[in-house]
């Protein structure tokens, strides 16, 4: 079930909120777990068993690791738990990719397994892995209550698109958390803003990207327009989902860590990755990069560690070579920055940002390509390679048609709006009051407009066919 859908907003969410808030304190986690299992089963009726199996493995391994702490067997149990969960991920997400490449290399024709990817498997697998490793390291005690652990892993706000919530960050809140008007209001506001980012901006820019891909009149400017639109689309889509998750978590009394922090204002790619999908970056840092030795190793090994981490980051995003190339592209940029560029970038406010926007835009063209051939074609098209015209009428039309949304997206990708609202509300008491009055009105209006956009998604005229 998607957050940006009528069944979620006007069926699932009201029922879950009612059940959750009338449930006694001791049953709230159980309500949350049952709701989450229903939420997951709605989209993946069969794979819900796979997730339950992963949770059981995580739960038992946590107990056993703790029971055998300081003994060699705890390491073996951790290895088994990690192995099984990564095995699930490898099988369900990467099997056909491995087969395809195996066939290419050997010339054999091993048939594809054609397994549907279980939604959210990359996220919940990483959460279970972090829990097991944290228990092994002694950073957190094993969770004795299976309902609490299952509620943590399966919690619907962050289940299908993150952020990757660390068990350590919410272990206390699974036991004891506060429910208040403040939490609800702040949470629902964050949720609605996230929903607006997704429905009003990301989806509209997504339409534009689809139009570009289907266009037979591509031009240099249209390629750039597409690149910018997709970079903004993916930011608003993903950060919008994170906002919704963080907001819903807050409604239920949880404080999830932030996942995006205006990445497009970064002055280096290094900074970009401190602001983009922060929960994934920190996960790889803590559970892969540092265990590999981080940067406290000889230079060659350090670079190797960086490449392993970014290979994995790319591969985590999808079973395709363009994701791997995308990850390695960042590895190269990061190494280059660490060796030569970082200090120079710090000295230039404009050039550094142009550099980041350009390199990131190219990266997302690679990211969104169907394959590497398309990626090269698109990047070539941006520079007029292949006899692409500089501009066409079609581009002018779509620039006019999507220009306002694009402009809103550009402004919205900076802290400008947030800072302006804060400035107004901090000016004096009256300004604060005005902002307080405007907020509920704006939230209700946004909900109505977004509902209109969702309902309009069902627009499906019978074309009988052009009479």
């Amino acid at each position: 079930m998607l957050f940006s859908s009528i069944p979620f907003l006007y069926y699932f969410l009201p029922v879950v909120l009612i059940l959750y808030f009338i449930a006694p304190k001791g049953l709230k986690n159980a309500v949350l777990l049952l709701a989450s299992l229903f939420f997951y089963a709605w989209g993946e009726p069969k794979y819900v068993l796979l997730m339950i199996a992963s949770i059981i493995i995580g739960y038992l391994s946590g107990l056993l690791i703790e029971a055998f702490r300081e003994q060699r067997i705890s390491k073996i149990i951790l290895g088994i738990s990690v192995g099984i969960n990564l095995g699930f991920l490898a099988y369900f997400k990467y099997a056909d990719f491995f087969i395809e490449n195996f066939n290419t290399v050997t010339g054999l024709s091993v048939p594809f397994l054609k397994i549907a990817l279980p939604i959210g498997i990359s996220f919940y697998t990483f959460q279970i892995l972090s829990y097991s490793v944290d228990v092994y390291r002694g950073d957190v005690p094993a969770q004795k209550n299976p309902v609490s652990l299952a509620a943590y892993v399966a919690m619907f706000p962050q289940l299908i698109a993150g952020p990757i919530v660390r068990y350590a960050n919410i272990a206390e809140e699974l036991k004891e958390r506060t429910h208040s008007f403040e939490n609800f209001a702040l949470g629902i506001r964050r949720f609605i803003f996230g929903l607006a980012k997704k429905i009003l901006i990301a989806n509209t820019l997504g339409e534009l990207c689809d139009i570009f891909k289907a266009s037979e009149e591509k031009s240099v400017l249209f390629f750039w327009f597409y690149g910018i639109a997709f970079a903004l689309h993916i930011y608003f889509d993903f950060s919008g989902y994170s906002d919704m998750a963080i907001g819903l978590g807050r409604v239920f009394g949880f404080h999830f860590a932030e996942n995006f922090d205006y990445p497009y204002i970064s002055k280096s790619v290094t900074e970009f990755w401190r602001r983009w999908h922060m929960s994934l970056g920190s996960w790889f840092r803590d559970y892969l990069y540092i265990p590999l030795g981080g940067n406290r190793v000889p230079k060659a090994r350090w670079f190797f560690n960086i490449f392993v981490v970014w290979f994995s980051t790319g591969f985590w995003h999808g079973a395709s070579w363009n994701f791997i190339v995308w990850g390695l592209y960042f590895a190269v940029l990061l190494v280059f920055e660490k060796m030569y560029l970082l200090k120079k970038l710090e000295n230039s406010r404009v050039l550094s940002r142009v550099y980041v926007l350009f390199t990131v835009l190219i990266s997302f063209v690679i990211f969104n390509a169907a394959d590497m051939k398309e990626a090269f074609t698109y990047i070539g098209g941006m520079f007029g390679i292949g006899g692409v015209p500089f501009m066409t009428k079609e581009f002018v039309y779509y620039l006019r048609s999507y220009g306002v949304v694009l402009l809103l997206a550009i402004v919205g990708a900076t802290p400008l709006v947030k800072q302006t609202v804060l400035k107004i509300s901090n000016r004096n008491t009256n300004s604060q009051k005005a902002v307080n009055i405007a907020e509920p009105v704006l939230l209700v209006l946004l909900m109505l407009v977004m509902t209109a956009y969702l309902v309009d998604g069902s627009f499906n005229p019978f074309l009988y066919f052009r009479f």
Binding site: P14, F181, F184, E216, E439
Partner: protein
Amino acid sequence: MTTKTKNKVVTICIAVLLAGIFLWCLCRPADAFSDSERRALAQFPELSAETVLSGKFMTEFESYTLDQFPLRDKLRTLKAVCAFYLFGQKDNHDIYLAQGYASKLEYPMKEEAMERAAGRFAYVYDKYLKENDAKVYFSIIPDKNYFLAEANGYPALSYETFFEEMKKDMSFAEYIDITGLLTLKDFYRTDTHWKQENLIPVAGALGEAMGTPLSGEYRVETLDYPFYGVYYGQSALPLAAEEIKYLTSKALENCKVFDFQNNKETTVYDMEKAYGKDPYEMFLSGSLSLMTVENPNATTEKELILFRDSFGSSIAPLFAEGYRKITLVDIRYIHPDLLGRYIEFGGQDVLFLYSTLVLNNGETMK
């Protein structure tokens, strides 16, 4: 308002909104049909272990919730208004407004589809007409975008190339150009189609080119029922209703119309359809695969076979004056191989009259 109060107000407002709409969705009876989209609406899906496990129930439930959402058409209007006026988008679901007309983007030129259409016409020609001494004519009706799109900055077909391509592909037929006889005013503001009351010069020119002069003397009648064209519903904008006017005469009133698809006699103007979901279907009962119009008062024995789309429904009656019998064929709904069972080919005038919209989507031809 203090921040504390605001938090309470936000909580209450959103809780009431979510719970209120939830209850409204549960309580309201399901609608069966969408007039604006002219389609049946999804109903509550079958709930069984099989439909749940296969995910069919969930998919259909989502369609149901969207189709049956309270105030659906008003919300679609809100979306269209936001898209056009808040976000400055130039079209909504490809529907755009220019010079007071609603139209749908028809772009780009689909050469394969055009070739498909021309190929099917050639098939008809080879199978029935080549050996039968038929005089074959061909004309293209420009759609509204011809007058509206490029002039207002919307992507448009390259009409000149379009016409040239079609003429090249249909070299077996004599081309009759009617583009110069039409203007934007000859089309409905909210619909795809042209207005019958403005077609006398077009019918005259086609008749003239086929060697059948038409006097074009008719009485103009106005339908006492508001006409909201197909783009009214699709645009979801509050566009004004239009009038349907139709041309009649003693001769037309005496014409005998036979609908082979439903095997029944009907009339030139189907007044039941005039007051139905799509009043434009009053012209020869709308989209039908095969029908004949016979004029017992004709002063000639000439016959016309009109291969046509829905634009043909409104112009065909105007040919009745010059032909004893007109056979209307829509090969989107009947395979050309079946025509021999119903039509005795030989000596008729044959006119292929199609709009650019249908030709550019010619994959629909059988």
